[in-house]
């Protein structure tokens, strides 16, 4: 059954995703708490927003995972994305602008997946120093953060690509490159 989303321009849904499981080092799991402590919600309220806080997902921590050198910590990452997806679905349905505080770059998959529950077509603007288009075959590190976009377009490790495919379907990538700062994917 189709659900009509009525967007609320004065509302922000805040979700913390304290994850470093996909990252190249520990530390980013502390970012949601640090940004909250720096007064993010209060300053947004002061700017005129109603901020609805959906809390933080369970922490997902950086680990070596040398058993899976081409796609490290994937089980933990996917578990975290499913947690985020559930919160993101509720947030998207509310019509608020959803603001996810990462965490590592993989968290965008949880946001996309939540959005795809209600929006058939969602595009992605990727504003990043890196293209994150490595795959398990090409990765020098095995860190999923270097492969997030590859997973979104279905070219990553199986479990991660399934999560990515649930979030997003795109046409074939036409080019790759280093030093990319913005990158745009079109959904069909």
């Amino acid at each position: 059954m189709a659900v009509k989303i009525v967007r609320q321009p004065k509302k922000i849904a805040l979700i913390g995703a304290p994850s470093s499981a996909a990252a190249f080092s520990a530390g980013s799991e502390k970012a949601p708490a640090a940004l909250r402590a720096a007064g993010l919600a209060e300053k947004l309220q002061g700017a005129g927003y109603e901020v609805v806080d959906y809390g933080d997902c369970a922490p997902r921590l950086f680990a070596a995972d040398d058993e899976h050198r081409r796609a490290r910590n994937l089980t933990e990452i996917v578990a975290g994305l499913n947690d985020l997806k559930t919160r993101a679905e509720l947030a998207v349905k509310s019509g608020a602008l959803v603001l996810v505080l990462g965490g590592d770059c993989a968290q965008v998959i949880g946001l996309l997946t939540g959005a795809r529950r209600y929006y058939k077509h969602v595009n992605l603007v990727w504003f990043d120093r890196d293209a994150d288009l490595n795959t398990p075959a090409s990765t020098p590190s095995g860190r999923i953060d270097g492969m997030v976009v590859a997973h979104i377009i279905g070219k990553g490790a199986a479990a991660g690509a399934r999560a990515g495919r649930d979030a997003f379907r795109t046409r074939e990538a036409r080019s790759t490159g280093a030093g990319v700062s913005q990158q745009v994917a079109d959904a069909p």
Partner: protein, 133 residues
């Protein structure tokens, strides 16, 4: 998939580059999500990231682009990634990032609730592009 390279963004300026990127994703017709990896900011302007390195944009270009993205009515969600508090012992990075978010989202609020964009009296709703699943 389209790529917009750092050199082009620096040449055009962040705001104009973002405007062009929004056209590339047909933002006027389709909802979109924005991913902001804070390492897109040049290391000298924002070092508190997981993997600092060369190739980022100066903060003013990132801010201009981010504001342009944030103002668009079809932005439905965004994530902010890679800020690492372990590399920010004094908290200045967190403050800078919070201020950036507040500035961009304030611009969004102003853009979406400006008199010309206001819906009929008594309603604060913004219609979607009609692609709800």
């Amino acid at each position: 998939m389209r790529h917009n390279y750092a050199g082009d963004i620096q040449f055009k300026g962040g705001g104009r580059a973002a405007s062009e990127a929004l056209a590339q994703v047909h933002a006027d017709a389709r909802e979109f999500v924005l991913h902001l990896d804070t390492d897109v900011i040049a290391e000298e302007d924002f070092p508190a990231v997981n993997v600092p390195g060369s190739g980022g944009l100066r903060f003013d270009d990132v801010r201009a682009a981010f504001v342009e993205f944030a103002k668009h009515k079809n932005l439905i969600g965004l994530d902010v990634a890679q800020y690492n508090p372990d590399k920010d012992p004094g908290g200045s990075g967190a403050e800078k990032l919070v201020n950036l978010l507040v500035e961009a989202l304030s611009a969004r609020l102003e853009a979406l609730t400006a008199p010309a964009a206001e819906p009929a009296a008594g309603s604060e709703e913004v219609p979607s592009s009609g692609t709800a699943a």
